[in-house]
Structures are given as C-alpha cells and as structure tokens.
C-alpha cells in the first residue's frame, strides 16, 4: 500500500511542509556528475533562448513551447537514461532530446520542418521524437504520451528486460482521464515507469488552482497505491536524487512512481502567448529561483565552478548551434507528394495519384 513505502513522504501533508531538495537527503554525488547536470542545463537554456530568437526573427514557422526555467527537472530525470530506456515527451519537452542525445542537426531540422528532421517535416517544431534513442514522437493530445509510455513499460516487463520509461506531463495534464487510466494501470501491474509531473503552476492561462483541489500533486499517487513524491523542480540535485531512486525502483521491478516537480514556466505558454494573465511579481519570484545560478552557487561552494568553466561550455555549444542552424536552413523541404507516404506499411501513392477519374490532389 502507498502509505507503507518509505520512499513517499507524499501523504497529504508531508511534501507541502517538507519538499525534497538538495539540503535534505544524505546522498552525495561525484563531481563529474554534478558538472554534467549543470552543463546539460546550460546547454538546454542556451538552445531554447536561441530558438526563441529564431522564432522572433521569423526564421521558422509554426510555434514553440519553451521549458526555460524547468531545465533542472528535465535534466535530473533524463541524464542517466540508457539508449534503450524510453522517454514519453509532451510539447514542453523538446530539450529532453538534447539530454538523451538526439543529434543537434536533426533537432534543429525539426524546428525548421525540413526533410532532414526525424519525422521529415510532419510534426510541428516542438514535437520531436527520435526512434534510435526511444524517444516517442509525441502527438499534441495532452497526456496521451503517458498512456503509450505505459504500454512500452508493459512490453519491457513482458520482455523481462530492465529498461524503464520516463513519461513527462504538466500539472494540467493530471485532469484528463488519460492520466488516470495510465497511472492506475501501471499501479495494478507494477510497471517500470516514472510519471514526472512538471507543475509549472499554469496550463496555458489556467491556474493549477482550477485544475485540482490538492496542494501537492504527488498525493494523487495514493489513489493508485504507488509511491508519490513532491520535489523542488528547480533543484537539479534533488530532482536527480528523487528520479534516480524512482528509476532504480522501476529497474528492479518494484513498480511505478509519481514525481511532482514544482517549477515554473518563465515565458508564455508558447511564443505567441504574452501571458498577460500572470502576475509579474510571480514571474520575478520564480526567476529569482533560476535553477542554473542555484546550481552555480552549489558548485562554487564545492570549488567546481568558475566563469571560465561556464564560458567554455556556452561558447562551444554556441558553435554547435550555429552549425546546426546552418545545416537546417540549407536542408531541403520535403517534396509535396511525400504527404502521401507512411500512411500504411504499403504505399498509397498509386491509389491516390492514379485514380481512374479526375483527382484534384495531383495538383501541385
């Protein structure tokens, strides 16, 4: 039963009063791991701020959903995943690709909807998957990725391997029936999956107060008899520790975990949302809790950080970004008729193009 597992202070009271962060919990991690966590956050931030500029410059069309401010959660949960582990991302998790290792050229090609993107220009810019690393190409349907990810976890269990699934969603997603059916099923079958709720307080313009009456969303795990824990989502070490415990539990066949990471979406829901519905003070308070300087202070305390170290990372990654952007901007668009491909395992081009009768869709 939920209440009996020590991993979960998430009974209705605990997490609110005592959220997990790097100052509590004994575990200490090797210096290289701490640097890696920091480096990845910095790259994610650099990449997304650059993408936002590209959008404002009108260099790609569509839209983008930045996770700026939420990097600690994404990095802490994904940094140690194996290639054979699966990530089930949503619209907000483009950076999960960078953390797991999707080639940058392909990711930026996705932004530019080019033939060279992993899905050859079919999905919109932020909806990036990468089959070789088991990152599911997401639909936009909120929470649906959790249910597909749950099926992957079921397959892992059936195949008796020790691969796990990390499934991301926002707090708004927890209101959907999809969320409930997925977590309940994982509970009954004790599947190797970790459900990470990124509670950034807002679902587009809707406050978390209008999504649920509970304070700490990890409480919801109790409905399924599984561990639930709330963690400071801007504290990468805390997230890393909590996520590592949950992932280990999953690998060992001890079932699923719900993690609520309390964090914040710095910008609008998307690049076209001015987010007027938010109180500017709220935004400032959270920017003051920026996970990157937070980690810099921690590293400095342990003599693991200085300006040059940071500059080295940023400068080198900026070059990689320049190259990837050039690659993407030079890459071709898909051919119009490719819209007819990958409908079934067999081609429908003949069926669609060579009708016995007149067909407007042959027109370019």
């Amino acid at each position: 039963m939920a209440t009996k597992t020590k991993e979960r202070p998430a009974n209705a009271a605990a997490p609110a009063t005592k959220p997990q962060n790097s100052t509590n919990g004994s575990t200490s991690f090797p210096a290289e791991k701490l640097k890696q966590l920091y480096t990845l956050m910095l790259k994610c931030r650099t990449m997304e701020e650059r993408i936002r500029v590209l959008f404002k410059q009108g260099r790609f069309s569509g839209n983008y959903y930045a996770a700026v401010g939420q990097e600690a959660t994404e990095v802490g949960c994904c940094v140690d995943l194996r290639p054979t582990d699966t990530i089930a991302p949503s619209h907000r998790d483009f950076i999960a690709n960078l953390i797991k290792g999707t080639p940058l050229n392909l990711m930026i090609s996705q932004i530019y909807a080019r033939k060279t993107s992993p899905d050859q220009g079919r999905s919109s810019p932020a909806h990036c998957g990468y089959a070789p690393l088991n990152i599911i190409t997401p639909a936009s349907t909120i929470a649906a990725q959790l249910n597909i990810g749950t099926g992957v976890a079921l397959a892992n269990k059936m195949k008796k391997n020790d691969d796990v699934v990390v499934a991301f969603s926002g707090e708004g997603s927890t209101s959907l029936g999809f969320w409930h059916e997925a977590v309940n099923f994982a509970g009954v079958h004790q599947l190797p999956i970790v459900y990470v709720i990124q509670n950034n307080l807002w679902a587009e313009s809707v406050s978390v107060k209008l999504q649920t009456r509970v304070e700490d969303l990890s409480v919801k795990a109790q409905a399924y008899g599984i561990p639930g824990i709330t963690v400071d989502g801007n504290d990468v070490i805390a997230v890393y520790r909590v996520a590592s415990e949950a992932i280990l539990r999953a690998r060992n066949g001890d079932g699923p975990t719900v993690i609520e990471a309390k964090t914040y979406r710095w910008y609008g829901h998307s690049e076209i949302d001015p987010a007027k519905y938010r109180n500017p003070e709220e935004v400032e308070q959270w920017k003051a809790k920026d996970p990157i300087p937070f980690m810099e202070r921690y590293l400095t305390k342990h003599n693991l950080w200085n300006e040059d170290f940071k500059k080295g990372i940023v400068d080198e990654f900026a070059k990689e970004m320049d190259a990837a952007i050039e690659f993407a901007e030079k890459a071709p668009f898909p051919e119009p008729e490719e819209a007819l491909d990958h409908v079934y395992s067999f081609s429908v081009r003949d069926r669609e193009l060579n009708r016995k009768t007149w067909l407007p869709t042959v027109l370019k």
Binding site: A113, G121, S124, H127, L176, T212, P334, P360
Partner: protein
C-alpha cells in the same frame, strides 16, 4: 450595421445571449481570463464573472458531460473545445450521451447544449491543430452539426444554436476568424438551422460546400463566370446534420451537375453522403459524374509548408473540378 469579422460575430452572439438569458453560461479551457485561445470569449468574464464564464480543468470529457447534466437541469451551456483535434475525450459525452439522451428517455430528458469547436487547416497548425473530424458527428442522428461560412451566419447560427432544443455542435474554422469582414446587424437575429443557403444562382453546375472551403468555392465560381462564362450555383450547406437535402436536390434537378468541395479527406467526408443521396434520389437528373474536391486520404495535415499546400483544397483545384464537370 458595423463591419464585423467572423469571430466578432461569435463574440457578439455569446454576449447577447448571455444578456438575454441568465441560464446561458460558457465553459472551456482558457475561455475566461485569457478570453479564449482565439479570443472568441474576449471580455465576457469581465462582464459576467467566473460563475458564468468557467475556466475548466484540462479535460474535454467533463467540459461536455457536465454541460449535458446542466442542460438537462435547465441551463443553456455553451462549451468550447479549443481544437477539434482534442475532442476525443468527449467522444462518449457527445455520441453516447448528448446524441442519445432524448431518444433513450423517450423525450422526457433532453440536453439543449451548444459545443463550439474550432477546426480546420491551412494555417500551419500541423497534424494536431488542423483537423476537421466532422464525420464522427455528422454520422450521429440526434446531433445538430453546424458550420457557418460567413460572419453573418457565425452570429445568427450561434444564437439559434443556443436557443435550439437539440445538442448542437458548432464548428468554426480558425482561418475564417479574421480573414473576412461583412456588415452584420447589431440587433438580434437568428438563422434557420434547417436550411442550406444558395449563395449564387446558376444553371450550369451545382457546387456544394461549407465553412472555409465555401469561401474558396465562391472565389472559384466568380472566376468560372468571368473567365469561362460558366454560371455556378453555389450552395452553402451550413448544417451538416441533419442535411437540407431538398435545397441540393432542387438545384441538381436544374443544373444536372454536381461538385462537392470539402476540406476533409475524401473517404467518408460529408461529400460522400451528399453524393450518395443524390445518386440515389436524383439519378435521372445527372448528366455527369459527381465529383468531390477533397484532401487526400492521409491521417492528418502534415506541418511542413509544401506538404500542407499539397494537402489543402484551393481555388485552382476547385476550378479544375468545375471545368471537368461541365465539360463532361
């Protein structure tokens, strides 16, 4: 009379009906403080407060199913589905509850609700912000499926839907919201939900469409007249369920030729039903095959520009069909 856009018409209809009848309320995602993803509900929470303009949880199922229960109890809910691509969680509420409640209770329990649904492509929305999905509901007796193509109808049909005693699904095309303007009465008026509209009269060919593609069809008809001297009778379906067959059958009896234009992909789009009942009920009138201008049969509208352009209907594609049909 003021020059209004399609979304102005929707916003005006909502405000007027909420002022007229306190039982009318709005529920949906982002409809309140944000005024809707496309600003259709702009200013309403300020005027009517959060009790009557409800920012719902992210759950389409309860948005619609709670509206069914409230409508059963005498309220007049106007639910909003932000994108039809995300209507699936409400599939049971719409097809098994709303469509069947009156029938299963022999008319003793009814749910006069309106669901506003944003649909359509051509704005680089990609696979999940461009869908049509009208067939799922046009196939369900018990539902009204509405789809205005002009600002005038946008207002008059929404007001009529809110007052109608049947569950109404009101489809609004995101590309129409601000692309066309017309003078519409500031005062109260309703549009008859049982009647299609003959937009242009002509003897050479009947073309049926609705929503966004209706506008493309009218442009194509215009060109057919100026460039080829061909007179097209353009029929705006307006209501996809139940269909106003008589208006279409009468027109085909006159022109003997029929083209149907839909944004939806070909198989089992609304054009299939129109072609089927004409081939069944007006066979002798036909002098040419019934042609359908439709998207190809692929799962959705791909994002990348060349792919989307290939997918979408266009004035050129429609003119090709018109020419082919009259030349037959």
């Amino acid at each position: 009379m003021a020059l209004s856009t399609y979304i102005d018409g929707i916003n005006a209809a909502l405000g007027e009906e909420m002022r007229r009848d306190e039982k009318v309320y709005i529920i949906g995602e982002d409809v309140g403080v944000m005024g809707g993803a496309f600003k259709a509900t702009k200013g309403l929470i300020e005027e009517f407060g959060p009790e009557r303009v409800i920012d719902s949880p992210l759950a389409e199922g309860i948005i619609v199913s709670s509206s069914i229960g409230a409508a059963m109890s005498g309220m007049r809910p106007v639910a909003e589905i932000q994108f039809v691509d995300f209507i699936t969680p409400a599939m049971d509420a719409i097809t098994q509850q709303a469509a069947k409640l009156r029938y299963r209770s022999a008319g003793t329990q009814t749910c006069p609700l309106t669901v506003r649904i944003c649909y359509g492509g051509g704005v680089q929305g990609g696979l999940y912000h461009s869908q049509t999905n009208t067939t799922w509901f046009a196939h369900e007796p018990g539902l009204r499926v509405l789809c205005p193509s002009t600002p005038y109808d946008a207002k008059g049909m929404l007001k009529a839907a809110i007052r109608d005693d049947n569950p109404c699904l009101y489809f609004e095309h995101k590309k129409l919201y601000r692309s066309i303007k017309e003078e519409i009465p500031a005062e109260d008026y309703l549009v008859d939900l049982n009647k299609a509209a003959v937009r242009t009269t002509g003897d050479d060919l009947t073309v049926v469409s609705y929503g966004y593609t209706m506008q493309l069809t009218l442009q194509a008809a215009e060109k057919m007249k100026s460039e080829h001297g061909i007179n097209v009778e353009c029929i705006d379906l307006r209501t996809l369920n139940p269909i106003d067959k008589d208006t279409i059958l009468e027109s085909v009896a006159k022109t003997n030729r029929l083209v149907i234009v839909q944004e939806d992909h070909r198989t089992l789009g609304i054009g299939s039903e129109i072609a089927a009942f004409v081939a069944e009920e007006a066979f002798d009138c036909l002098d040419a095959p019934i042609l359908r201008v439709a998207a190809p049969d692929v799962p959705s509208i791909p994002f990348s520009a060349p792919l989307e352009k290939f997918y979408m209907p266009s004035v050129e594609k429609i003119m090709m069909a018109m020419e082919r049909c009259v030349q037959y």
